[in-house]
Every structure is written in structure tokens, then in C-alpha cells.
């Protein structure tokens, strides 16, 4: 019983998979959200199926919430760091997008 229940694309270009959309962002600036309340903005030089990536000219933003126990206020701080070239391991990546712009 060999039935084709899935319509696999015969031509690789006929259907776009999510990774094909990432491919369109190569050599473009992108925004990456990572685990641990971290965000990266940089130029995408390489990626693979695990979402391992190499980014150039990247700025990392770490969001830290500090709670003042006495006054019960939450202070939200961000820490920024930059690297000229960074390899990012895919298992920490949550999402990848063109830079978020406030239009």
C-alpha cells in the first residue's frame, strides 16, 4: 500500500518553507529573539536548519527586571553589547524577523 498522502514538491522552488523565507534575509539586517530575554540585531551572513547563525555587526540587548523589595516597584533595564562577528547556536533562537520598525 503505497499511497501518497503528502504532496511533496517535485520542484524545490514551487513551495516556500519557513527556511526559504530566512534565506531571503541573507546579507540583510535581521532581528532575532533568543531565550533568556535576549534580542539581537545584525546582518545575517549564514544559517542552517538548526537555526545556527553567523551575524555581523550585531547588537545584543538583554532585558533585566530588577525588583525593589521594599517599594514593590519593578525596574526594567536593558543591557546592550556589540560584536563584530558572532556565531549564535540555534537551540537558543525563538524567532527571526526583519528588523522591527515602528511605522
Amino acid at each position: 500500500m503505497t499511497e501518497e498522502t503528502h504532496n511533496a514538491p517535485v520542484e524545490p522552488n514551487a513551495v516556500e518553507e519557513p527556511l526559504d523565507l530566512v534565506r531571503l534575509s541573507l546579507d540583510e539586517r535581521i532581528y532575532v529573539k533568543l531565550r533568556g530575554d535576549r534580542e539581537l540585531r545584525g546582518k545575517l551572513h549564514a544559517y542552517d536548519g538548526h537555526l545556527n547563525m553567523v551575524l555581523g555587526e550585531v547588537e545584543e540587548t538583554i532585558t533585566v527586571v530588577e525588583i525593589n523589595e521594599e517599594t514593590y516597584e519593578e525596574v526594567i533595564r536593558t543591557v546592550k553589547r556589540t560584536s563584530e562577528m558572532l556565531f549564535v547556536r540555534g537551540d537558543g533562537v525563538i524567532l527571526v524577523s526583519p528588523p522591527v520598525r515602528t511605522n
Binding site: 524545490p12 526559504d20 551572513h45 549564514a46 544559517y47 542552517d48 558572532l86 556565531f87 549564535v88 547556536r89
Partner: protein
């Protein structure tokens, strides 16, 4: 793809930032298919975050505990990398249906 990429970086000084916030600088001596990393002549980037540094000169780091690897931009040919990544999408080197 990234296995080959790291092989081209052997001999360079890199900084590996781990998931537990440790940052180690050293010379890349070896890498494998899991992106496990061996570093020589290691130094702690920030002494407070990395204890017991005196005892250790070389180390083996399991790939799965790496968060980032900071690289010198001069060691990277971005055009070549981008080209390789484009081809990787068509035909992934680790498994894949195409």
C-alpha cells in the same frame, strides 16, 4: 556547513559564551560535527563570572552548552559564507529530503 566554517577558524582566538553566562577566550584547536569545541591557552573574560581558571589551560566544551561564539570579523569571508548558506537551503548537508 558550520562544521566546515569552524574548521576554517582553527588557530584563531575566539570567545565562547556559554549558556550559564561563562565567557572563555582561547585559541580554537578543534571542532567536530556536534560543534563541540576545544580551546587552548584559555583565559576568563570576566574573572568574577569564571572561577577556577588557574588550574585549566586547555578545555573541551560540549557544543550544546554554547550560546555564542564571538569571532574576529577579519577571519570571516562573508560573501563565501552567504553563498554557502544559500546552497545549504537547497541541499542540507545533515539529512534532508532533496
Amino acid at each position: 556547513l558550520f562544521y566546515s566554517f569552524f574548521k576554517t577558524l582553527i588557530g584563531q582566538q575566539v570567545t565562547v559564551e556559554l549558556k550559564n553566562d561563562l565567557a572563555i577566550t582561547g585559541i580554537l584547536t578543534s571542532v567536530d560535527q556536534f560543534l563541540n569545541i576545544k580551546l587552548d591557552e584559555i583565559r576568563a573574560v570576566d574573572d568574577a563570572k569564571y572561577p577556577h581558571m588557574m588550574a585549566v589551560k586547555n578545555c573541551f566544551i560540549r557544543g550544546s552548552v554554547v550560546r555564542y561564539v564571538q569571532l574576529p570579523a577579519s577571519a570571516v569571508d562573508t560573501a563565501l559564507l552567504q553563498d554557502a548558506a544559500r546552497r545549504e537551503a537547497q541541499q542540507p548537508t545533515t539529512g534532508g529530503a532533496h
